[in-house]
Symmetry: C2
């Protein structure tokens, strides 16, 4: 299911926050895939202006679809988080008014509910929504040892615990990441994001509330079961490595083939520089009975 | 199981951090239960010096048992968190050397594992370990509406989600509390504690990453299934209410009879002053199949 997807015509990239949209745009151009970005004022970084693009305001759904149509985009990648719109500050154009029931439905429910709705919304209008990793599989973390260091037996036990906990949490549409050190779950990611969770672990360690020598514990990142992976794939980058090191962890484990590592070279270099292990763990998305016993 | 426990002789209180040891000592004296506190330098507040007490250093296990014996304490309450000892700075007395394998076993595993070991350790030496709520049941949150405001239908749905998530997490020895707003799990408590989690929710809301009007969402607090409730009972107090209000929540729900509300009057007053609902929810500790379906 993660084989390369052939894009017809121009790839539309709906661009959210952060550096991911630019990274993906650059990778697509390197693969000679023509692109057009739709960027959201106040969300998307101005970096994207070096690629073909259209700026819209939150709520300008009509303008969004015009941009896609004018650029013959029928295949889409939606990438980079967005803040949930504050409905007081949304500028609704005619296209938005028509889709108001949909927009209002976004105000309720877990992340995954919202993201699935977004995908369905585009699909109902005839677009094909792909994960960035489907179009550009070279951006996915692969299986096995990716850094110089290898996990110890104790690290491996923490990785196994972490994978199990992420699976369990996913049933409740929570988080993609946990930190486990010496069998103890130090932190669980919910709405705050991985960087904030790692920051918290660094503080716990500094305050003496997380035991263990420096270089103990592991960040585990994997998709939620049933996660809308096409637009909410877990992601790691060089900053993840720096923060994991600052939190005193021994390394990072991700679900192989299921986690975006868009800045692959920089990420691996940061893992090595910080003496972290970085491994891709085999992950069977269909195993869904981890809680059964 | 939560009926009042009769204490024979003097009640020994092993006192950790925070104000709880003093609150409990005061409640015990009000109930005319004689007490002796064992306080740990660097952990216990000096407030406890107004009660009969002995100071020990981390690792002075021999001195701990002498204090209990000299004061005819066979019933114990262990209250207030402690930092996991940093084994580099522990002063080991003769009693500690004898119990070294036990002490070292504490360096590994989840919270619940450690706490169960501590209880077992005292029990094997012939002590009876009680929960503060068993000795002083007036300190437990009771069922029903405890503040002026009542939860809305939406709040009730968030409470139900929160209770389910706490149950699910408990299987992995994680957390006692979650924040749910409009069906979305905003935050999960692991090692950082409830106050830090609420602080995070306040920041998420400020940064626009948690939606919803002010006064949306609920803090849910309940014991982990199988939690060693005698020494690690979830606790709320006036500060919890202030932080829940600062996080923009509508209210707080706790498992009735399973959550310590040591400063009852102040806690309820703080809920009212901050226009929060505060409810005790029926909680069946034996239901353990919430994850089954």
């Amino acid at each position: 299911m993660r084989g390369t997807t052939q894009v017809e015509g121009t790839l539309g990239i709906i661009a959210g926050r952060g550096s991911l949209p630019s990274v993906i745009a650059r990778a697509a151009m390197a693969s000679e895939i023509p692109i057009h970005l739709v960027a959201i004022r106040g969300e998307t970084s101005e970096e994207i202006e070096c690629f073909p693009h259209t700026w819209i305001q939150w709520g300008e759904i009509g303008k969004l679809f015009s941009a896609l149509k004018d650029n013959t985009c029928t295949d889409l990648v939606i990438i980079g988080g967005v803040n949930r719109p504050d409905f007081d500050n949304v500028r609704l154009d005619l296209g938005a008014i028509k889709t108001l029931p949909f927009l209002l439905s976004l105000a309720k429910g877990g992340d995954d509910h919202v993201l699935s709705s977004v995908v369905r919304f585009f699909e109902e209008k005839g677009y094909h929504v792909h994960g960035a990793g489907q179009v550009l599989p070279e951006l996915l973390a692969d299986e096995g040892k990716l850094s110089t260091k290898a996990p110890s037996a104790e690290d491996k036990a923490d990785i196994a615990t972490g994978l199990e906990v992420v699976r369990a949490l996913g049933r409740h549409d929570i988080g993609q990441a946990v930190v486990v050190a010496k069998g103890r779950v130090l932190a669980v990611e919910a709405a705050e994001g991985t960087d904030a969770m790692l920051q918290r672990c660094a503080e716990l360690r500094k305050s003496g509330r997380a035991r263990g020598a420096h270089q103990t514990g592991v960040l585990v990142k994997a998709p939620k079961p049933g996660q809308e992976e096409r637009i909410d794939m877990p992601t790691i980058g060089p900053e993840t490595m720096r923060r994991a090191a600052a939190a005193g962890l021994a390394g990072v484990a991700v679900a192989a083939g299921q986690v975006l590592m868009a800045e692959r070279g920089e990420t691996i270099a940061a893992a090595k520089a910080n003496k972290l292990f970085l491994v891709g763990e085999r992950w069977d998305a269909d195993v869904d009975d981890a809680l059964g016993e």
